[in-house]
């Protein structure tokens, strides 16, 4: 049984059936989903895709509008949703960046207790590269040690994808150069196609949604590894689509002869679980009534399990996002209030050293 089925079942058991009062609550209403990134990116596409199916699971079949509220380093959308009336008609679907916000400057900090969590949705992260680096042909991770001319293309020094990529290569003891500031994944892919950079860590949705076809399919690149995500019981989740691609953990074991450990790996795990495991936080402003919240949580969990949604998500992003229930999300949010100082130190020192 898929992991998400179990989680959805648990959520349904915990929350019970929606109360009768809530049943006609959304008749003729429009729910506004605020996203904090542009409409065309993976956040907007997945929110829109999900909204199309979510309506079928809410009594009254409300309309949905996905509204991008961009700016303020992704804070504008978060603030907009947080300040909305808690009437169940405005929800947040935000790229949350919880871990990096927790250790970042105060202006970027968010008190997530201002929200009632409905769910978390995550997209695993993976690495791929060009297959011709410095005159050598790369056929797999085993060719990385000793390779010269490896150049990691990054978004910006504080991006978790940059950080995970740099830490991974450092953990493997591989020398590399670092070009950052591309800002978005498409620009990195373009630079990789032009051979200005040759290594990229990306959300798997982007990889399966186009990079695989246009880089690997075009014969200029190869996938390297994916980063495992763990469910509440510690077991891996979100493995669909990776086929026989190795996990980063297994690559480290193969190349170093020992399982990964130490402060660097702890920081990778922390970033991966908190950022890739929960790419998006779906929430209502604090103060929404309990019945409406229960209805939203249950209908969300049911939508995740709907075959039509899963099929559409797989067709669009290559895999179904990993679902995290509200209880697990709230535990994660609690954890952000007391980040392990060693992890915080590792991450901040990487951001500082990556600043050009």
């Amino acid at each position: 049984m898929p992991r998400t089925t179990v989680l959805a079942g648990l959520a349904a058991l915990t929350l019970g059936a929606p109360p009768a009062l809530a049943e006609d609550r959304y008749e003729g209403e429009t729910i506004r989903i605020v996203i904090n990134l542009g409409a065309g990116g993976s956040t907007g596409v997945m929110a829109q895709l999900f909204a199309n199916h979510w309506a079928d699971h809410i009594p009254g079949n409300p309309d949905f509008i996905v509204q991008p509220v961009t700016g303020g380093a992704q804070m504008a959308g978060i603030i907009e949703a947080r300040n909305a009336r808690p009437d169940g008609l405005t929800l947040a679907w935000v790229s949350w960046s919880g871990p990096t916000r927790a250790i970042g400057p105060a202006s970027q900090n968010v008190d997530w207790s201002d929200f009632e969590v409905i769910a978390g949705m995550g997209v695993p992260t993976m690495a791929y590269m060009r297959n011709d680096v410095g005159g050598a042909t790369v056929t797999g991770p085993a060719d990385l040690p000793g390779l010269s001319g490896l150049q990691l293309g990054g978004y910006r020094p504080g991006s978790y994808l940059d950080l995970i990529g740099r830490m991974s290569l450092d953990l493997l003891g591989i020398e590399y150069g670092y070009t950052t500031g591309f800002g978005d994944g498409s620009s990195i892919v373009a630079a990789l196609q032009r051979d200005e950079v040759n290594f990229h860590v990306t959300p798997a949705g982007n990889y399966f949604g186009g990079i695989e076809d246009n880089v690997v399919g075009a014969g200029i690149g190869l996938p390297l590894w994916y980063y495992e995500l763990a469910g509440p019981d510690g077991q891996p989740v979100g493995l669909e689509g990776f086929g026989d691609m190795p996990s980063f953990r297994s690559v480290v074991e193969d190349l170093t002869g020992a399982p990964p450990e130490g402060p660097l790996y702890d920081a990778i795990e922390w970033l991966n679980q908190g950022m890739a495991g929960t790419t998006w936080l779906i929430a209502a402003p604090r103060g929404v009534d309990a019945e409406t919240l229960a209805l939203l949580r249950e209908s969300f969990a049911a939508t995740v399990e709907e075959p039509a949604f899963r099929e559409a998500a797989t067709a669009t992003a290559g895999s179904v996002p990993v679902f995290t229930g509200p209880a697990q999300m709230e535990t994660m949010i609690d954890g952000l209030r007391a980040v392990d100082p060693a992890i915080a130190e590792t991450v901040t020192s990487y951001i500082a050293s990556g600043t050009q």
Binding site: G40, F64, A73, T179, G210
Partner: protein, 652 residues
Amino acid sequence: MIDAFLSGLGLVFTWPTPLYLGLGVLFGLWLGAVPGLGGITGVVIILPFTFGMDTVPALALILGVFAVTATSDTIASVMLGIPGTAASQATVMDGYPMAQKGQAARAFGAAFTASAIGGVLGGLAMAASLPLIRPLILSFGTPEFFLLGALGLTMVATVSGGAVSKGLAAAAAGLLLSQVGFPVASEEPRYWFEIMYLIDGFPLIPVVLGLFALPEMLDLAVRNASISRVDRDETESLTAGIRDALRNWWLVIRCSWIGIYIGMLPGLGGMIADWVAYGHVAQSKRAPGEPEYGTGNVRGVIAPEAANNAVLGGALIPTVGLGIPGSASMAILLGAFTILGLAPGRAMLSTQLDITFSLVWMLIVANIFGAGLLMIVSRQMARLSFVSGHLIVPGVILFVFMGAWLDTPSIASWLTVLGFGALGYLMKRGGWPRPALVLGFVLGPVMESSLVLSWQSFSPADLLARPLSIALAVLLVVALVFAIRSTLKARDVSSLRAASRALGGHPASIFLGLALSATFLAAIAPALGWPPSARRFPLVIAPLGALFAAVALVTDLRAWPKRPASEGRGPDPETLKSAGFLLAIGAMIATAWAFGQPVALVGFVALYLGLATRHRIGWTLLYAAGAALALYVIYHRVLHVRWLEPALALWG
């Protein structure tokens, strides 16, 4: 390949695709005509409706919108001096002066014809380049982007109308403004004064609307006259404009090619293509008797309009062929492609090739249909240039402020429009070229990011091994020499014009010179503590900007005694009226904050017509009711605007 091309044509004319294409075109024409909206707004609105639709009709709806916004955005540029979208900024340069000369219909005829041809050529270029896509796009790397941006900056002299030191200082101010917010490769935002609105930098739309729209509306309000400053002349007709465009066919083709190529390059787009095309035509030789550029030369309308419509065809090439969206609008389109089950990249060049070619046909059909529709109504639109300015001002103010709000929903956006409006007014009065500031603002991010990325990835030896970089560097030197020579040659002719423009606003010019010199100098100190990649650009711009502003200031001060004594020492009535207008806009913003935007905007319309211009009460109420209806239907029901929560209502 030919089979797929014809099969694509069949798809476009299979019912109900023509219906959706037509609907998309109508919606796109409206979006382009209203300042501050544009294709992205439209596609965000219609995207949810395309779920569940068949692929080709859904694409027709989306592409219909995108294809023609660059055609109808000419209307605001010509009639009001306000860029309808970011891609029609350069059209203002000669389009608005043509309307002021009573030649709006001629400008429309030329613009719509050039737009249609540019759009069709863009579509054909897309079809022709699909087999060559990879080498075409991948030959252009980050160093070349920097050089292209620098090449764009050489147009400052062209758009400065003889006031070169002011133009250079204004361009430096635009570059410096583009430095606000997060730098490319470090995590500390610059010049943001801990104001969250500024953390990602100034948004383009409120800046452009402020710089261009408010000064022009202010001018209309203060002069109490129509846009056209001459009587109606029916000989300056639509057909004359069409003939102008056809007579300049080689220019149309050249500028379409500029649009296609710039569209193809990720990160640039229409707002740069139209300036490059304008720079191209303005640097070309004028025929005897032809008006100067910037004073109503029809070729200055034809060039940017051909380019900005051709951009879409070019921009679709990397989006469809490589899955690389080069702009925000292409990113949305890419999202729509994936939702509709298409796989941009190799699949759209092989198994889905017929659909790819249907996009080409959609572009061609939409551009011809859109331009045709606009030509039918252009005579009526042109007549608006002879209507009393007082009837135009309140409506345009409503659309301008709602456009800024739609782009960035924050009261700070309205303050940005007002702030840049005041700056634009001072620049206009003082003879400082506003396009130069916009040029710097638009090119700044492109140049800085490509410089920072090139710095990390390339050594000087790498750069010397890139033939395209060397070719562009040579072109840059040639353009610089050409710009300096033409500036020196034009100085004698244009100094009179520039001086006459600046004379009335001499104090405004001196004030700007002082303020900009101080701003540039103040910008140096904080930059010294930033990481190298974050400080490199501001530390080049700020001292140079201070130098150019100081030169402009000294020139103004030396000319100061030449002011006629009759001008008096106190502020003239026009200045007082202008200050009053800006204060009224400030009061409108305060009202919006206190009581909400609908109250503020409808109140402004009613008070402007009723009190300031003393229109009859019935006419005033009718206009105000129309404004309220527009706010409700267009912005509330169709665009789902999130209104500002009124501060006083919250207390109650």
